[in-house]
């Protein structure tokens, strides 16, 4: 799964992407096209590199990367054997000089996470006079013939408007000759540069990658994220997990986000708790953080151990599709069914399902959820559902949102062994200030 398609998962990943300060367009492109990492070794290696950047002060490099231009097209034209024009040669010179400067900074800071190839040769080709300035034209020193023609041109131009018709004609001929000579030089330069296409492409890609790493490291600092431990075949554990988008939203209103702790292995997990107790936010945070870890971002928790999976399935009950003619119930059931099939086929999935079968009657709904938990059983990924139904199944791990306490919501998760769901719906409805008569009739009905 590419990062671009992961952004479609409605878990707050887009918020993380939007707040990521990537300087260059090729950095963004590279990130969007990157694949999710699924093995421990791959992810560990990535975080080692990120940590290298994280521990250094990289603002100078970030500043340099602001002028990084995406010249993939130019490089592929060069590779195809095309003779480059002035603008393209300028782009290559610009990249080469930028790379030299960045390389120097990397050495000074002792950064090993990203290596940039030596492009001195390229600079030599495009800077024959050793001026070391990021500008380009077909310099006189490339060709003595060119130098001579230019001298003549200059002399003629000096005459300005007083030139005779013959002189104008001569100038036109000179201009043509000049254009031919320049082309010859550019052909020669393109030829020489062609040998360096691989290094140039590597440089462009590595600088884009460096840009991504610096942005991620910066995000870890500003959002207080953590580096995850990557486990294999063990368990997933979050200490003070939070959801950055929700946290930022609350902060705007002057409120605090209450972080939660959660641990799970391969047995299915149920989360029960009052309405508005943050169950869905827990599911979204789990999906988000799993994605963050597998795409090499900082993770939104104080500390965590994460087990990589092959796929993340987040069903939050909005699968209804008027277009496809599927009701919300059917949409949900079908989505869950596809998850079951994948788990059966041995895929390692983190499945997060928000209140399955909530749109049907509670008797059958409860039975459906019970059945779901039984059919899943232990699996090699993780299976977490939130529910308002009383689930009897003893082989699942249960979490309960602490819930209302003295009129205040405690979002903390606590492990419980009892399947009985809390009865706080009316109290919460009351706290929302709804019609008192409705509450009164509801209470009367409940007591009957």
């Amino acid at each position: 799964m590419t990062f671009k398609s992961a952004l479609e998962i409605d878990c707050g990943l887009r918020f993380m992407y939007d707040s990521l300060c990537i300087m260059s367009s090729c950095g963004r492109k590279m990130l969007l096209a990157s694949d999710m990492m699924t093995t421990k070794s791959e992810i560990d290696a990535y975080y080692d590199r990120l940590n290298d950047i994280y521990s250094k002060e990289c603002s100078k490099i970030a500043h340099k990367l602001m002028s990084l231009k995406d010249i993939h097209n130019t490089l592929s034209r060069l590779n195809d054997g095309t003779t480059l024009d002035d603008i393209e040669l300028f782009e290559i010179k610009h990249l080469a000089l930028l790379s030299l400067q960045t390389r120097q900074l990397l050495i000074e800071l002792g950064i090993n996470a990203v290596e940039l190839p030596q492009l001195n040769k390229v600079v030599e080709i495009l800077d024959p006079d050793g001026l070391n300035i990021p500008s380009f034209y077909v310099y006189d020193s490339y060709s003595d013939e060119l130098r001579e023609v230019r001298k003549q041109m200059k002399a003629m131009q000096a005459q300005g408007d007083n030139a005779s018709d013959e002189e104008r004609q001569a100038l036109a001929t000179l201009l043509q000759l000049h254009a031919d000579l320049e082309l010859k030089v550019r052909e020669n330069l393109s030829q020489q540069l062609r040998a360096h296409t691989v290094e140039l492409t590597t440089t462009l890609n590595n600088m884009a990658f460096l840009d991504i790493l610096i942005a991620k490291a910066e995000q870890i600092k500003t959002m207080n994220l953590c580096f995850p431990n990557i486990a294999m075949g063990e368990y997933t554990l979050y200490n003070n997990m939070f959801h950055p988008a929700v946290k930022a939203h609350l902060a705007e209103q002057g409120k605090d986000f209450m972080p939660v702790d959660i641990t799970f292995e391969h047995t299915p997990v149920t989360i029960i708790g009052a309405n508005m107790g943050g169950k869905s936010v827990v599911l979204k945070s789990l999906a988000l953080n799993q994605l963050l870890a597998q795409y090499g971002f900082g993770v939104a928790a104080q500390s965590c151990t994460i087990e990589p999976v092959e796929e993340i399935a987040l069903c939050i009950g909005d699968e209804q599709s008027i277009v496809k003619g599927v009701s919300s119930f059917a949409g949900e059931i079908l989505a869950i069914d596809s998850v079951i099939k994948k788990i059966r086929a041995g895929h390692k999935i983190l499945a997060l399902i928000d209140e399955p079968a909530r749109t049907t009657n509670p008797v059958e709904g409860t039975a459906l959820v019970e059945g779901l938990l039984e059919v899943i059983g232990n699996n090699n990924g993780a299976f977490i559902v939130t529910t308002h139904y009383n689930i009897e199944n003893q082989s699942v791990k249960r979490y309960r949102v602490k819930g209302l306490k003295d009129g205040k919501m405690d979002y903390t998760l606590e492990e419980t062994h009892c399947g009985e769901v809390p009865h706080e719906a009316i109290a919460i409805a009351e706290s929302l200030g709804i019609d008192p008569q409705w509450i009164a009739y509801t209470k009367k009905n409940l007591n009957n």
């Binding site: 603008i87 300028f90 500008s135 380009f136 034209y137 230019r150 131009q157």
Partner: protein
């Protein structure tokens, strides 16, 4: 040599034409040929290619501009490739036009090139700002036909206006039309303590009451002025429209009883889109218009030849225009002025 020394007093200049074929390019070439480059480094661009596209319709060539050694030019990639001069590419800017990215280069051996730069006011302002890093002393913008916006004082401090027989082949009409534009360019700057506050406003129509309080009329622009049913001038000393000043708004104020006590304010002359009769009526009733920022009009250049072949008498035209606008008027093509 006329007005070159005047130009050197400013750091930004725009050249605008009131019509096609009024000799704007000759005027630009004239200036570029004579600027003393040892005194000031010069960068040239043009406001997009729109307007100039008409050239392709009438199948006449878009005029090339002659650039001298040491000058900087900013033009679109496609036009840069076609240049007939030797130049050193110094920057690929982030601005884009329909002909590709805008690039900046320094001329090594003089010659001709097509110039087509940024096409919006905002990007032009960024361009002027961006030229500072090359230590440019004077930025010159070749404005597009009937788009005075590049001459906005927000972009360039000084301007040269081109007019000619292409605008009208009747000398009196031509003088009249040009005079009106010159009059608008010459609108006085607002002298009021509220000026700084007004400068910061970004949209809408606003008022300043007699106590100096700012009043928002809650309309997005003067175009929506119909939605206001009350007399907006009541108790006001200033009415400020951030966007375009239209006939409708001008008429509305002209009809008000308070007209003599209220000053109508616009950002600069490029925002005035009123017809002359409406303006004269407005003034006759005691109305006055002021601007927040003013451009310096250095000179008016005329081309007495119309594209249909009609030729006006150059001397008569120049002298009549000079009398009408009280500013230097030159026929550059006819009089090959020397430095």
């Amino acid at each position: 040599m006329p007005f070159i020394s005047e130009i050197l007093k400013y750091d930004s200049l725009s050249i605008v034409g009131l019509e096609k074929n009024v000799g704007k390019t000759e005027c630009l070439n004239y200036i570029l040929r004579r600027l003393p480059l040892h005194e000031k480094s010069v960068a040239v661009t043009s406001i997009g290619i729109d307007g100039e596209n008409k050239d392709q319709v009438t199948a006449t060539h878009k005029p090339e501009i002659y650039l001298r050694q040491g000058m900087y030019l900013s033009t679109a990639e496609a036009h840069y490739r076609e240049r007939r001069l030797v130049s050193e590419l110094v920057e690929i800017t982030n601005e884009r036009s329909s002909l590709g990215r805008i690039v900046t280069a320094k001329v090594v051996i003089g010659g001709k090139a097509l110039i087509s730069g940024p096409s919006s006011g905002v990007s032009l302002r960024r361009w002027v700002e961006g030229m500072k890093k090359f230590d440019i002393g004077l930025t010159i913008i070749d404005g597009a036909i009937s788009r005075l916006s590049s001459a906005s004082p927000a972009i360039s401090k000084a301007m040269i206006l081109s007019t000619g027989a292409a605008l009208s082949s009747n000398i009196n009409t031509l003088v009249q039309k040009t005079k009106f534009v010159v009059e608008m360019i010459g609108l006085d700057k607002l002298e009021d303590e509220s000026r700084d506050t007004l400068c910061d406003i970004e949209s809408g129509v606003w008022g300043v009451d007699n106590e100096g309080n700012l009043v928002d009329f809650k309309i997005t622009s003067a175009l929506a002025i119909n939605t206001i049913k009350v007399d907006i001038t009541k108790g006001m000393k200033i009415i400020y429209t951030v966007g375009a000043l239209t006939d409708k708004l001008l008429n509305l104020i002209a009809e008000s009883k308070n007209i003599k006590n209220v000053t109508l304010v616009v950002k600069d002359f490029t925002k005035v889109f009123v017809n002359e009769t409406t303006y004269r009526t407005f003034c006759a009733r005691g109305g006055k218009i002021r601007v927040l920022q003013k451009s310096k009009l250095i000179a008016v250049c005329v081309n007495p030849t119309a594209p249909n072949g009609y030729v006006l008498d150059s001397d008569t035209l120049c002298s009549k225009l000079r009398d009408a606008i009280k500013l230097p008027v030159y026929d550059i093509v006819k009089n090959e002025y020397d430095i």
